[in-house]
């Protein structure tokens, strides 16, 4: 990462600067001709910036594209827009991290990113405006995921392996198509979209009584992460930050979610390599963190805790102390259970060198979260674009450099350690005062980028209000949006039998991707 965005910024008026959770006047976002838009985005990215989001919305019979550029070292975001219709020159040829965004635009708004190297439907969703999408489809029933031309490798001994959408275990649906030569994987193509429920259009026109429950259901294992991004977006638009006590309790819930998933993932990885003690213990220890979350709010996944303006349940001092002690105890056991796993030479031999993703690949694809940090990409929203309690209390960021299954597993242990310490110390020192304030109306004609470091990585929501202060567009980006391609790259030239292990080391969300 070199140089902040302003180093390459030709003119101050080219970009609108903002930060995580700051509402801006939507009309103040500069709108450029396409060629200028491209040039500014490419320059900013070449200067070390990152494309955090790129999304469309209808405007003047055309489509207004808005890019959110992140300057992670400086903790700043910058916005710019362009109006397109029909086709425009794709960014993805130069910026692989844009590939998903541009496929989404092609599908949602029927604009064609010319020169896109991998222009395929993203989630087989019907267009969001009454046009045909860039693939000529208007009716969602016309095609389903998997009914499309797969990338194929030809040759005498090349064979194809197809897996899914219905998998062997209790897992969400997706289709994996391998091009193999014996055991060796030349290429893995991942087709998603089976989980598409239409989250974004359902949030449009809100906030209404469904909205919060919808946000909590974007990815059920990340209810707190997505729920938090949503309530934070609304609070920013209403100009009402939540009370300090609510921020602390939200931070506790977010880190408990990270702990439950990281510990569960360590158990799942252990199960996959046949190391059963850790598989059984971590399976049960994961429940300790889920149950601690249920002590906060009655639900093991944190549903019903968050509300715009604060939290729905406060804790008494004795309750908070009891949960803190429980979390410390559960972590102590988790650390020991994971220790058995990592200290076993046969386990290490199985994990090390498997499914490696290089730092260059991770950067190019825009990977986020533990998957990025395992490849040496030092990025974490809790530090880079600090929000809520993390503005006051810092959780150290951990990285590794081998980018393999081992690194992705090891990172989870180290992150768990820090999250457990954070949760316990917050619960032991909760700020005084109330835990919920009324929200008030949302500012009309505004835009806010709301980011949260979920357990899989950066969650980014962008909310835009209309003149009446209703949500005119609600864009959701789950960390899996970028990271699925990381999994495909982890398999390249690997062994097909490594797939389950690699897949678990990423443990990505299908629902979060498919929306």
């Amino acid at each position: 990462m070199t140089g902040p965005i302003h180093d390459v910024r030709p003119r101050a008026s080219d970009l609108l600067e903002t930060w995580n959770g700051e509402a801006v006047d939507a009309r103040a976002v500069p709108v450029h001709p396409v060629s200028r838009f491209r040039a500014i985005v490419l320059e900013a990215l070449a200067g070390g910036g990152r494309l955090a989001a790129l999304f469309g919305r209808p405007a003047e019979g055309r489509v207004l594209l808005t890019a959110v550029l992140a300057d992670d070292p400086e903790g700043r975001l910058a916005l710019l827009s362009t109006l397109v219709d029909g086709a425009y020159p794709a960014l993805s040829a130069e910026v692989p991290a844009a590939q998903g965004f541009e496929r989404e635009l092609a599908e949602q708004y029927g604009v064609r990113p010319e020169g896109h190297p991998w222009l395929k439907p993203l989630r087989f969703e019907p267009p969001l405006r009454p046009v045909r999408d860039a693939f000529g489809r208007r009716d969602p029933r016309a095609t389903i995921p998997g009914e499309y031309p797969f990338f194929a490798v030809e040759g005498e001994e090349v064979h194809e392996v197809a897996v899914g959408p219905v998998h062997a275990g209790i897992i969400e649906p997706g289709h994996f198509r391998f091009q193999c030569h014996g055991e060796q994987v030349f290429h893995l193509e991942i087709v998603l979209g089976y989980q598409h429920r239409g989250v974004e259009p359902l949030l449009q026109g809100g906030p209404d009584r469904r909205s919060l429950a919808l946000a909590e259901s974007i990815a059920g294992d990340t209810s707190v992460g997505h729920g938090l991004a949503y309530v934070k977006a609304l609070e920013s638009l209403a100009g009402r930050p939540p009370p300090a006590r609510a921020m602390a309790l939200r931070g506790v819930a977010l880190e408990l979610e990270r702990l439950a998933n990281h510990v569960g993932d360590l158990g799942a990885l252990a199960g996959d390599v046949g190391f059963l003690p850790t598989a059984s213990y971590c399976g049960a220890l994961r429940a300790e963190f889920l149950n601690a979350t249920a002590e906060l709010c009655g639900n093991r996944f944190g549903r019903g805790l968050l509300v715009p303006g604060g939290v729905r349940h406060d804790l008494g001092a004795a309750e908070a102390q009891a949960i803190a002690a429980r979390v410390r105890g559960a972590w102590e056991k988790s650390r020991r259970a994971a220790g058995l796993f990592f200290e076993s030479p046969s386990v290490r031999a199985r994990l090390e060198g498997t499914g490696a993703v290089s730092r260059e690949t991770a950067l190019a694809l825009g990977l986020v979260g533990p998957a990025a940090r395992a490849s040496g990409v030092d990025r974490d929203v809790r530090r880079d674009h600090a929000f809520g309690i993390f503005r006051f209390v810092h959780v150290p960021v951990v990285t590794a450099d081998t980018g393999d299954v081992f690194a992705r597993a090891w990172i989870r242990l180290l992150e768990g350690e820090r999250s457990a310490a954070f949760v316990a110390s917050q619960l032991e020192n909760l700020p005084e005062g109330g835990a919920r304030d009324p929200l008030g109306p949302l500012a009309p004609g505004s835009l806010v980028v709301s980011m949260v470091e979920g357990w899989r990585g950066e969650i980014a929501h962008v909310a835009v209000t209309d003149e009446a202060g209703r949500l005119a567009r609600y864009k959701v980006k789950d960390p899996s949006f970028h990271n699925w391609f990381g999994l495909a790259m982890a398999l390249r030239d690997g062994q097909i039998s490594d797939f389950p292990l690699c897949n678990k080391s990423f443990n990505l969300s299908y629902a979060g991707h498919d929306l």
Partner: protein, 256 residues
């Protein structure tokens, strides 16, 4: 090896006492709602206005009810009702054999009836299920997975999730069934040899849940599998693992 054994010895028994002993839930756990319309303030429909899934039927009238098939157990209705016309009990028993049985009035337990005669004889002691996530958010899937861990240990009752529909006695559907999963769900069902069960787990699979108004979902298993009856509905968002285990054991006639 020694370390592993030492750890094991210090670890103790993990499996929950349920069903032999009472299950333990946290203080804020929201189980079956109890409805008492005599406590309603005249003309008040605050609960229904706030409910994300329109789960409250006939609010403020003598026939007020909560539809557990839609309810996501957010608790907002109870919070909006200081007189307590709707309140949440810690009764985990929520599963039912018929859709109508999920519409609760008063404060009576919901208990799923057992399969009858031949089905119970064939499946009662060994039930293999194929899970199909059809746009489930991974909440219900996670709790179904949890039923198999060492705490809830569904395997001890002879109930198991299997990899192939050909080896299964039925399917467990989660999610509101997206258009994009409709074909895969139907094909999986057809691949299960008859007689076969259909079990819908979670508000989405029962009614569409928070997605029921989306144009790209079918609104649950019953709607998606048009004409094929659902044998067991397990409400919740997601249901607690004990609620799932309770429902399955009642279906098999294993709980009195």
């Amino acid at each position: 090896m020694i370390d592993i054994l030492k750890f094991r010895l210090g670890y103790g028994r993990q499996t929950v006492a349920f069903p032999d002993g009472p299950p333990k839930f946290p203080a804020r756990f929201r189980g079956r709602p109890a409805v008492d319309p005599s406590r309603c303030t005249d003309g008040c429909t605050a609960c229904a206005e706030i409910c994300p899934t329109e789960a409250i039927l006939a609010p403020g009238t003598a026939s007020m009810a909560v539809d557990l098939g839609r309810c996501v157990f957010c608790g907002d209705c109870a919070a909006a009702c200081p007189p307590g016309a709707i309140r949440f009990t810690d009764d985990h028993r929520l599963a039912a054999r018929a859709r109508e049985a999920l519409v609760v009035r008063g404060d009576e337990p919901v208990l799923a009836a057992a399969l009858d005669g031949e089905m119970r004889r064939v499946l009662g002691r060994s039930l293999k299920l194929r899970q199909v996530s059809a746009a489930g958010c991974n909440g219900c899937e996670a709790e179904l997975n949890a039923t198999g861990n060492i705490q809830f240990d569904l395997g001890r009752f002879g109930v198991q999730f299997v990899a192939s529909p050909r080896h299964a006695d039925g399917i467990v559907v989660t999610g509101p069934v997206s258009e994009n999963m409709l074909l895969a769900l139907r094909k999986t069902y057809e691949a299960v040899p008859a007689p076969r069960l259909v079990i819908a787990v979670g508000a989405c699979a029962i009614s569409g849940g928070v997605f029921r108004e989306s144009p790209v979902v079918s609104g649950g298993a019953e709607a998606a599998l048009a004409g094929i009856p659902v044998d067991l509905f397990v409400p919740g968002c997601p249901p607690h693992p004990i609620t799932i285990v309770d429902g399955l054991l009642r279906l098999l006639g294993r709980l009195g």
